[in-house]
Amino acid sequence: MSGENINVALIGNPNVGKTSVFNQLTGLNQQVGNYPGITVEKKIGFCKLPNNVKANILDLPGTYSLNACSIDENVVIELLLNKNDKLYPDVALVVTDVENLKRNLLLFTQIKDLEIPTILVINMADRMEHKGISLDIPFLEEHLKTKIALISSRKGFGIDELKKLIVTYKSISSEPCLNASSIDPDYFNNLRKAFPNQLLYKLWLVITQDVNFLNLERNEIRSSFTKSHSDLKRLQQKETIKRYQFINDVLKEGLKVDSSKAKDFRSKLDRVLTHKVWGYAIFFLILFVIFQSIFEWSKIPMDFIDSTFASLSALADEELPAGVLTNLLSQGIIPGIGGILIFIPQIAFLFMFISILEESGYMSRVVFLMDKIMRKFGLSGKSVVPLISGTACAIPAIMATRNIENWKERLITILVTPFTTCSARLPVYAIIIALVIPDNRIFGVLNLQGLTLMLLYLLGFGMAIFSAYILNKILKIKGKTFFIVEMPNYKLPMFKNVAINVVEKTKAFVSGAGKIILAISIVLWFLASYGPGEKFKNADAIVIEENINKPLSETEFEDAVASQKLENSYIGIMGKTIEPVISPLGYDWKIGIAIISSFAAREVFVGTLATIYSVGGSDNEVTIKNRMAAEINPVTGNKIFNFASGISLLLFYAFALQCASTLAITKKETNSWKWPLGQLIFMSGLAYIVALIAFQILK
């Protein structure tokens, strides 16, 4: 038994604390990846069990049953049907919530039909007393043909017992606990005769679902055993009733609820949080507090990161032998990395707030509150979740649309989500706001810069809603509409879950964006440090000639040479070429370079400016912000980053779809290039026009 390596699958309904169990078992020892070909998140963790057994713990997406209606749920079935998958579980843990045991057991009985050794994990056992619930564990174990682990992932009890139980997986029953085929004996007997080597429930799942099934020609099963859609559904209804009858019979004996002891604080809270006035007021207050605090709290760590990287560059310049490599390091790589790391505080705070809202159960109340309003714009109440998580990143947000049942509502949500202010826009906003909006307070509390940021967020939401309204009028898609949202119990968010979520998401974002930014900053540095022709080569001579009557100090001379070189470098020439197109928007060729380079990822904007301004100057101690503030238009003598051009830039970045990953995910989720291309053309065109109008009015 010792030295074994086993696969454990965690399965369960949403909102049962499955992820907390996963975190309790694995700690930070987890890996997040994707299932091949699809973007469903795949979470594997490692756990040392007693007797030297090592377990790979797979956290499967939450599902209410094995009748899949989304790709996330499909992942669960495909794994459980494929014995050859290298993650096929040796033992399944079905995680349930003690307060929702009846519903949670439906999935349990289905997993049992697959004849996998199954442990029933009853979570949130710490609430039993509070809710007046008592369980007859031996009775339940006998009738459900399983072993039960009574745990509380919140209080951390029962985890060690669960680990001991997993080790004994070989002695855990893999027998079904009821005979579901009795709903139509003739049909199932014929099925059994036709495929004697196959598990009956597997065949049934293949007939009713769209899943890949490796060992069998599914067409063969389908053609001889298919029924009309509504006959199949009738059988599925019978099956569901059959399962519930069994569960009700077992729970009648095994579970007692003394409702006089139950203290219900859910309904009191619901009354306030879904109230027609207080509900909305509280929701907007929460949003307001989130956005104010992101800006205020992030300020100090961001300034710290900014100045640390500026001094690191200076240090590299001083300490390392002068040469091309040192320049690449101090002017390309270090400012590039700094440009990535500076996002961390804001992104982390955003992910923290979003994960608290989801963990606490509040998000479902928002869905409930907003559904009717959102439907006026062709969206669903469930679109609120993508639109809010879009403030962190559009990629997971677009993936979060999968639980929207109606295809038209889902498509519209996917198309408009990139308008919400994602965290990649934040560094662009942050630096421009800091440059053009005064750091004053109005009424003594409201920070003007924070208020501007808030307005930009509202603008993003506003544009998303407005575009949805237009799309709703244009798109002619008919589809079955239905909408079910579970309203989970309120829970205090667990620190560990929130922390792990924040760390994982921030890490994924930084390493994903980081690679692109680093590569682009190195390329940029090359393009900015070399140039064709005499003007670049003889920059020294040209500067001396131009200033022949004016004595220059050494630094003035160096700065002048550097900017002469930058202007005639490859990148300078590229920027100059597009200047006529962007100058009506108030931008110079340096901003043009930044817009080109940030086409694939908008956060590259700041990194690019950092690289350009480092290459352009001699002193690395000065931060990017100070350099940008000092930029002067040589023709007019005005600041480059003034109020008009600043607002124009903010609006440009608010609307333009500068994100290759968003295009890729839209393509994947809609299965067509039509939608991402439409998104790109519409958003970029809108950005240009709005920025143009704003600059022309304000200048």
Binding site: N100, R103, T240, T274, T481, V485, M487, P488
Partner: protein, 79 residues
């Protein structure tokens, strides 16, 4: 007129009688919406839609268009 979940008042309880299987999604059945089970209307969202229900111990919200399809028999003793 038949009585459906839509015609219940806030706080009213009822027994689910029947519905058109082709219209009501399977997912709702799996959440416990089956003939014979109890349903309680807990809250009505502002603007009258969706409805927040307790079906057989599951707390969930559905839209009025679905609620109209589910026929129920109100339980009198609560009134």
């Amino acid at each position: 007129m038949r009585t459906t979940i839509f015609s219940l008042k806030k706080g009213e309880k009822a027994i689910i009688k029947d519905f058109d299987i082709d219209i009501v999604p399977l997912k709702l059945l799996e959440m416990g919406c089956l003939p014979g089970n109890t349903v309680e209307l807990l809250q009505i969202a502002p603007f009258g839609d969706p409805l927040y229900l307790n079906i057989n111990g599951s707390h969930l919200a559905i839209r009025v268009e679905t609620a109209r399809e589910i026929e129920v028999e109100p339980l009198k003793e609560d009134f």
